[in-house]
């Protein structure tokens, strides 16, 4: 691996975790706090080596709770920060993810999903944390979650995750599965000047007029950091635009909670990305994400060869859920098939968006993802 | 044990004993009693008046006894009392 400056530009053969770590560096991440956990450990190990090379900070905290807290602290001190974990660690981080949402701290959390629940199957893939990413912490809130399906996407979507988190001041998750994280593939990394990065909006009011949680038209408040001359208070308690706790006011609670959700919901069309393959005339639509989408792609292509009008809607953004796109294709299709490596998570969202259109769920748990043949069989049996 | 002055200091005429000015924000007081109890010169006592919180703030018994030790300023949990030197050349921080 040659290193030409900070970004690892060039064509490389990398594993998914390493590609994710390089994506973080390319996006401008200069703080990583984490804790080793299979199958995300390689992200931490790679960054332990790479961060000092690019002048960034790596620290291994005593647990995942501390990792998430440190990430928020570093974000508030002005650095782009991230952590990486798997299911058990993701569970531990939930309270502080809530704190990041409430204090609108830009940060990225990579969850490399493994078999659960609990300690589960540490070395086996799954897609079992999908609902947790959206609902894991208490209270009403919205986050953004992306699902890479290849090592190239581990790089690209990590960069995008940073950009989204900085734009919307929201914790952004990269929900990889253990297969995408551990497999080795070709990655093309463009030169630094061709990689689009976004930085958080800075205040344009003078310090004595600055209100830390006063949103602008995009519903996102410009963010000052510690030591920049703006003396502000931020708290996990319900607060007003000044940042001061206002725990007795229903009005303040309504405004705050709604804005924290609306800044994502109302900007959903700008956040959501999907990949549409052969959907223009599709009767059978397979809705898939992550590694399973690759098997689905193969199945859909084979189905077309057999004369079946099948198509694939690959979800790149899992949250906010692409209900508009799912609803659109559900209307034209006769049925939808949702293969997931869990026992029924995102399929519920698909069913909700698909309304009258029948949705068939293909569950698979354990070591292997769905094979193209399994999905093809289901497409063939679409009338049953 | 404090020494008793058994003779007059040589510069007694030249040195001016600082005069204290005790400021009490009566409505901020919660009647904890710390300033009254810990004043070394017993300059304060509980007053009879009732403040906005429904309790008795302190009142100054004899301001001339105050030695401007500042203990009341530091020990008040409610920032309700502070002492400054009267006509001091130093302006207090705003």
């Amino acid at each position: 691996m040659t290193r030409k400056g900070i970004v690892l530009e060039g064509v490389h053969f990398l594993n998914g975790d390493v590609a994710c770590a390089e994506g973080a560096i390319a996006a401008g991440c200069r703080f990583f706090a984490g804790y080793p956990i299979t199958p995300a450990t390689e992200i931490a190990e790679h960054l332990a080596q790479r961060m000092p090379e690019v002048g960034g900070i790596y620290i291994q905290m005593e647990d995942e709770i501390a990792s998430m807290a440190a990430v928020i602290g570093a974000s508030y001190s002005g650095l782009k920060s991230m952590t990486a974990t798997s299911g058990p660690g993701f569970s531990l981080m939930q309270e502080n993810i809530g704190l990041a949402v409430m204090t609108e701290a830009p940060c990225v959390v990579v969850d490399v999903m493994r078999g659960g629940p609990s300690t589960g199957q540490p070395t086996m893939p799954s897609q079992q944390d999908v609902m947790q990413a959206k609902w894991g912490s208490h209270g009403d809130y919205e986050i953004v979650a992306l699902a890479p399906c290849s090592v190239q996407e581990m790089f690209d979507l990590t960069v995008e995750a940073f950009n989204l988190s900085e734009t919307y001041r929201v914790p952004t998750m990269v929900l990889a599965d253990e297969i995408v994280a551990h497999m080795w593939e070709k990655v093309v990394i463009p030169p630094a000047e061709d990689i689009k990065t976004v930085n958080r909006k800075k205040p344009n009011a003078p310090p004595d007029e600055y209100l830390p949680f006063m949103p602008d038209d995009s519903l996102v408040p410009p963010m000052a950091c510690f030591g920049e001359g703006f003396s502000f208070h931020a708290t996990g308690l319900t607060h007003d635009e000044h940042g001061y706790p206002k725990t007795s006011s229903s009005e303040v609670q309504q405004q705050l909670v709604r804005r924290l959700c609306d800044k994502i919901r109302l900007n959903a069309d700008r956040i959501i990305r999907v990949q549409e393959v052969m959907l223009e005339d599709a009767d059978v639509v397979v809705v898939a994400y992550g590694i399973v989408a690759r098997a689905a792609l193969s199945a859909v292509r084979k189905a077309r060869e057999e004369g079946i009008k099948a198509g694939l809607l690959r979800l790149v953004t899992l949250w906010p859920f692409p209900e508009v796109q799912v609803a659109k294709y559900a209307e034209q299709a006769e049925m939808m098939i949702v293969p997931e490596m869990n026992y029924g998570q995102l399929v519920r969202e698909v069913q909700r968006a698909a309304k009258e259109t029948p949705v068939r769920f293909l569950s698979k748990l354990g070591e292997e993802p769905h094979t193209p043949m399994e999905i093809l069989e289901s497409i063939r049996r679409r009338d049953q | 044990m404090p020494e008793r002055l058994w003779r007059k200091p040589l510069d007694a005429e030249k040195v001016i004993k600082p005069k204290a000015e005790i400021h009490i924000f009566k409505d901020q007081c919660k009647e904890c009693g710390y300033c009254i109890s810990f004043c070394p010169m017993k300059v304060l006592e509980e007053s009879d008046e009732i403040n906005a919180r429904g309790v008795h703030p302190p009142r100054v018994v004899d301001e001339s006894k105050c030695i401007i030790c500042g203990f009341c300023t530091s020990v008040c949990p409610d920032f309700a009392i502070f002492v400054t030197e009267k006509n001091s050349k130093e302006k207090p921080i705003q």
Binding site: G5, G55, G73, L99, F226, G227, L237 | P77, T84, E90
Partner: protein
Amino acid sequence: MIEETTIQTSAHPFSKYLRSAMMPHIWCPGCGNGVILNCFVQALDELKLDLDKLVVVSGIGCIGRSAGYTNTNSFHTTHGRPIPFATGAKLANPELEVVVISGDGDLFAIGGNHFIHAARRNVGLKVICANNFNYGMTGGQQGPTTPLESSTPTSPYGSIEHPFNLVHLAAASGATYVARWTTVHVRNVTQSFKKLFQKKGFCFVEVITPCPELYGRYNKMRTGLEMMDWFKRASRIEHFSDPSKAEITSDRIVVGEFVDMDRLSYEKLLHEKIAQINEKALGKVK
């Protein structure tokens, strides 16, 4: 400033260090948290510290509200987590002075793990612990520093748990400055707070404070004055005594400085290493 003027009587000398929109504070009559806040802002005033570089981080609890009262950059975290948050903030910008002000439960029960690791690493955080022997905010339940046999709502038959000796814990974990005072010792508290800003590395000051509404009321010390009397009666100043023998009892509270040493701080070591490695890596590029 030398001027012949009369003193303006409307403002408290420390009011510039307090957020006027948030005052008066929510603490009970006689609560020692107000005394700690008072001594803290007095220390800031005496040192003329650059407030822009100061960050106050607090946890959940009555004392946790103090971050909202200080007129500085401040952050109020989730329960038990001010120390790791402060670690992230400090490492990301070592120019900042990061002070953690929190309570005995927040720092030593739920936050205990974070305390010992931050002390072990010697991250340059200044940790002030308001030890009132219970969980005040939630109603006075027992905590890790509640004295044996105390009556609290969750130990109605008397506590059977042996409490922590916080100065021993801090010293054993590697803190470079460890001190304990009570709210009676206001001058010493202020001096110790000033010392925090003059030391590098992980510093810890325990301030024993009265909680008359809860701990005091449940344990036959109904007023703040009675609790302060206990502190005054039982405390004795013994600088640099053995922290392991400084357990708090009803007639013995050892106060003073226990540890005052110098050890390279984590952030200094970290940034030196990063600078070295970064230079080397960039050298290869050219």
